[in-house]
Subunit: 236 residues, 2 copies
DNA sequence: GATGATTTGTACGTATGTATA
DNA sequence: ATATACATACGTACAAATCAT
């Protein structure tokens, strides 16, 4: 069985808030470039030369330029006027802040999802949770990682608010680009599973408060403790 | 006295998460175009012809194109490949969803702001609240609108998380573009002031729970009731 | 359904601005 | 500090696609 099957029910959902551009070379280049960055072809801080990229993708510099500016707004690349672009470098503090924001947004999604999810979505959530148990039993970290992703996606979409969904997905994508392989060890995987269990239980019991609190805690537990430069936040 | 003085303490804060491009004609055109849209020069649904815009701003099509693509990601304009751009048209449902998201995000900011705001920021908040009382006494809706904006900005920045701040500001800007003149009547203004009072009190008392709940309620009270198409969210 | 008009998409040349020696 | 090298920024020309007739 394919534990990492795509969420057909989700991928066919109506287009999210900004009907993101689909056609055009610029967008294609943008997607390819984003993939390359995600795959580590271009490392954080690396210079993104328009001419070089144009040659790489066999297009002129114009679509490359547009793609770079788009990715700059996304935050994937840092764009300095008159000085070109580099792959964004996220400091530990910035990553921590993204985790914090992600925790808040996704917990909010979860809270709304408790009330708004369809029966089909609830079933899908339970199903995914069951699958993740199997993945753990087989010690399959890759499968667990995929199921975990889908698990969170179902909850995010469950809030049925395109604005929140977009924010959550955008953050999730950006974070996943810079931090990969969360579940290296069995302990983290098991802990994650236990936390999911509480969330699913609260979700099915329509327990809004618990669901919100536990989802927030769940995501904050994945938060990099290393980046807690608390001095930055202290009131002087 | 100038009730709408700029927030000098805020405008000099460190650059927010994506160090948004500062130089270049494209960005200038983007800002001007956004202003024009906000000012109603271009109405929702109106076609944004690249050539026409280029003529309007006395530049070539290239920077106009880049500006349009940037605004498309922001959501201010809808961009259809090979078919040009139009000023975004937000349905009542979409506006309602943005209000809901805004309420959640800004309430989250408020919750963090309770703990993280500096003394200077707390003082500024109290000061603004006092000013808003004066504005009401003079029946000055314009002044109240400006102070109200700054009031919320102080709280948003008070969370000290650039990611949350960017999301809140982005949403706020987009919403304000499509919905203006909130405080037409004195009742709404007074109600807003009373709600602010509770929030300030909770903020100064370090009451996290109350602050979060009241800020959320405050923003949801401004939410357009007309767009509540609850049938869209029903679990079939 | 085909054709012409209009508009977007891409390529490329030149100028301006930034970094380096 | 000045000059040189180089990448970006903008403009213009052409190609492709869309829409109206």
């Amino acid at each position: 069985m394919n534990l990492a099957e795509p969420l057909s029910s989700l991928s066919t959902l109506p287009p999210v808030v900004p009907p993101r551009s689909r056609g055009g070379l610029a967008d294609e280049v943008g997607r390819k470039l984003a993939d390359d960055i995600a795959l580590g072809v271009f490392l954080p801080g690396e210079r993104l030369d328009e001419t070089t990229l144009a040659a790489r993708f066999q297009v002129s510099r114009t679509p490359v330029r547009e793609a770079l500016k788009q990715l700059a707004i996304t935050g994937l690349v840092a764009y300095r006027p008159n000085r070109g672009s580099v792959v964004a470098e996220l400091s530990p503090l910035q990553i921590d802040q993204m985790f914090e924001a992600m925790g808040e947004i996704e917990a909010t999604c979860a809270r709304h999802a408790v009330v708004r999810m369809t029966e089909a979505e609830r079933d899908r959530l339970s199903e995914l949770h069951a699958l993740s148990r199997t993945a753990i039993q087989h010690g399959n970290a890759d499968a667990y990682d995929n199921i975990n992703r889908d698990f969170h996606l179902v909850i995010i979409h469950g809030c049925h608010n395109p604005v929140l969904i977009d924010m959550a997905l955008g953050l999730r994508h950006k974070i996943s680009t810079f931090r990969r392989t969360q579940f290296r060890n069995l302990e983290r995987m098991t802990a994650s599973f236990e936390e999911h269990s509480v969330i699913v239980e609260a979700m099915l019991a329509r327990d809004v408060v618990t669901c919100y609190r536990e989802m927030r805690a769940h995501l904050l537990s994945a938060r990099s403790a290393a980046a807690r430069v608390s001095s930055t936040w202290s009131s002087k």
